[in-house]
Symmetry: C2
Subunit: 418 residues, 2 copies
Amino acid sequence: MAYDSSIISIDAARLLDRIEQLGQIGRDGGDRLVRLAGSDEDKRGRDALVSWMKEANLEVAVDKIGNIFGIWRASSEDDQAPVMVGSHIDTVIDAGVYDGCYGVLSGIEVIQTLQAAGFVPSRPIVVAAFTNEEGVRYTPDMMGSLVYAGGLSVEEALSSVGTDGSVLGEELERIGYAGCEEPGFLKPHAYVELHIEQGPVLEKEGIQIGAVENLQGISWQRITIEGVANHAGTTPISMRSDAGYAASRVISFLRDRATSSQTPTVATVGCISFEPNAVNIIPSRAIFTVDLRDPNEHSLQAEEAALAAFLTDLAAAEGVKIATERMARFEPVTFDATIVKIVEAASEQRGLTSKRMTSGAGHDAQMIARICPAAMIFVPSIGGISHNPREFTSGPDLVAGANVLLDVISNLASDHEK
Amino acid sequence: MAYDSSIISIDAARLLDRIEQLGQIGRDGGDRLVRLAGSDEDKRGRDALVSWMKEANLEVAVDKIGNIFGIWRASSEDDQAPVMVGSHIDTVIDAGVYDGCYGVLSGIEVIQTLQAAGFVPSRPIVVAAFTNEEGVRYTPDMMGSLVYAGGLSVEEALSSVGTDGSVLGEELERIGYAGCEEPGFLKPHAYVELHIEQGPVLEKEGIQIGAVENLQGISWQRITIEGVANHAGTTPISMRSDAGYAASRVISFLRDRATSSQTPTVATVGCISFEPNAVNIIPSRAIFTVDLRDPNEHSLQAEEAALAAFLTDLAAAEGVKIATERMARFEPVTFDATIVKIVEAASEQRGLTSKRMTSGAGHDAQMIARICPAAMIFVPSIGGISHNPREFTSGPDLVAGANVLLDVISNLASDHEK
């Protein structure tokens, strides 16, 4: 049967209803949504997901790290590398209902729509829900996809000890999601992740679809400045070694540099503490974090180097000692240019505005990009708010994104050579 | 009997021994010196002080707020307004042994030296130990001298609730230091307070005696900046309302202004916190304190006004809301020029280097200056360190300061008209 994307669309009501249903699973006493990886709430979310996969006649597989796969093998080509749609359904504490879940549920929706339209894929289509993307209970985050891509051994991941003292492997066993498949057992032909932007750009610019062409590299450092505690009244300014003032200089430097940069570099100081933290004592110590991001590795390294040079000069000028500790470092990821173009073309064909953009947040797609061509599709987040119950994307925007996903997946699962 | 200050000096060994003894009273399990106002440790320190006053044949009186007075009435002029020497013996937590105690014990030492030398004062000489100067357990600090000078009612002070839930009046009753005298019952002819500098100036400049001519005014504010919490990766710099960055601008502004000022203004940001205080979230709120000091009221007001104007501009430029709350405000105190000259002259006569200086810290002298001519004498603090077990002033410096006090008190207690 010929397939024409201009005549089919996803079932908006079914998709929105499932997002709503999944968002009600894991509410705590204060009505906060909390589905941490490996928890009882996670199990209930997974059970619902599996039931919808079965409703779509998908073959359900679970791997050793608990990643869930719903596989549609519809043709004689079912030994081909599959097209994979994925994201996650674990949440942060007091989460919104869209982050992750939207991508997974849209994957099922796309398959059901294609099935109903009589679409015959040239290769299997798989929906994946990766374990512990949020990293709230167990570190690192994006764990399931990292293991799947071979970046972390399954043994190491399963032995992770949670913030509550639990062991991930035991918890997966307990909730019935310690599967048999080896992570990586399905090597994708391509991977596409549909996600809310979690940033303000699409909404502010009035654009419906983000064709995500890359994902920022991340550099996290903890900086400790050691000065000398002294009386705030009796110590002349010229005789001070003020760790707090030195910290303020770093914060201003980072921001002013990012503001004046020609690149999309962002820099954030999110955590800070002073010691002894008394009104009338000059801080002897300031500890703060630096989050630097840039989609270009050379630019990110340049930002790190500029910060290091600034710290060296600052230490000499202010008579303080400065130590830096690397907390995390991920190189930028460049997504597959072909898939990005397909996303743009699908948006245009649907009459949707789109723009190429960078993902500022980390996603499972950055891990899966290690093993196959991958890209992402973003839809607007109102106010850029995420990881918060006020996280919101309008119904029409959610539907538009899922229809773009429909077109992209049908394209990737069609044999263009035939 | 003729009195010649060139031929008598205080008993160095006796003074240093008493400082040492008092410094051993109130050690906790970790050998930390902790004599908080109204505590059992305070009682033991007071008992030792009273025993030394009695050893000096002083008449001991206690007022309703627990201030202790050792009165030497040696002449027929004992109805004259007395010369008062004073300070405090309560301490901070993990204190040094000199802060306060040095001034009180030197007062007793001066009287005993004058007695032994046959000096006949023209008016009584009184040593005062004021209650709760440190303000650690009960607020406000400098409470005993404030009440004595009429700045706070004795009822209000006695009803102060401590950090441990105790009531000061009940604690003073319990330890036997709720006296009968009305605060202010002795109206001094003059007041002199000998104290360690608690700052680095005298040591760094190699000067032995500080002739303290004034005391800085203090302005304490708590500033709250409200921005918008957003994802550190997905929010472009241009779309941020970063409360932490705005706070850093204030800290830098205060410091840079103080550095370039032609006045002795000091500015300190000692406390800070960010919310939500996460590595990858732009701070939605920054709360910090500002401690501004200047010996001139007009200058202090100018600094406050400059800060207020900067905050107004900053709020507009950064899209944040800024609220300020006054925590404390004391006007500067100008000490008595005649007594300051006597301190300088006594230093010169002793062959000691001296300089006029400003007290950066608060002292009981600033309260007593409301009711009589007052001044202070400073001796060097090594490294400017105070409120810390490493607080240190050398023996010779302590003795030199006590000898200057001796000369100043004998001068003030001599009838120059006769």
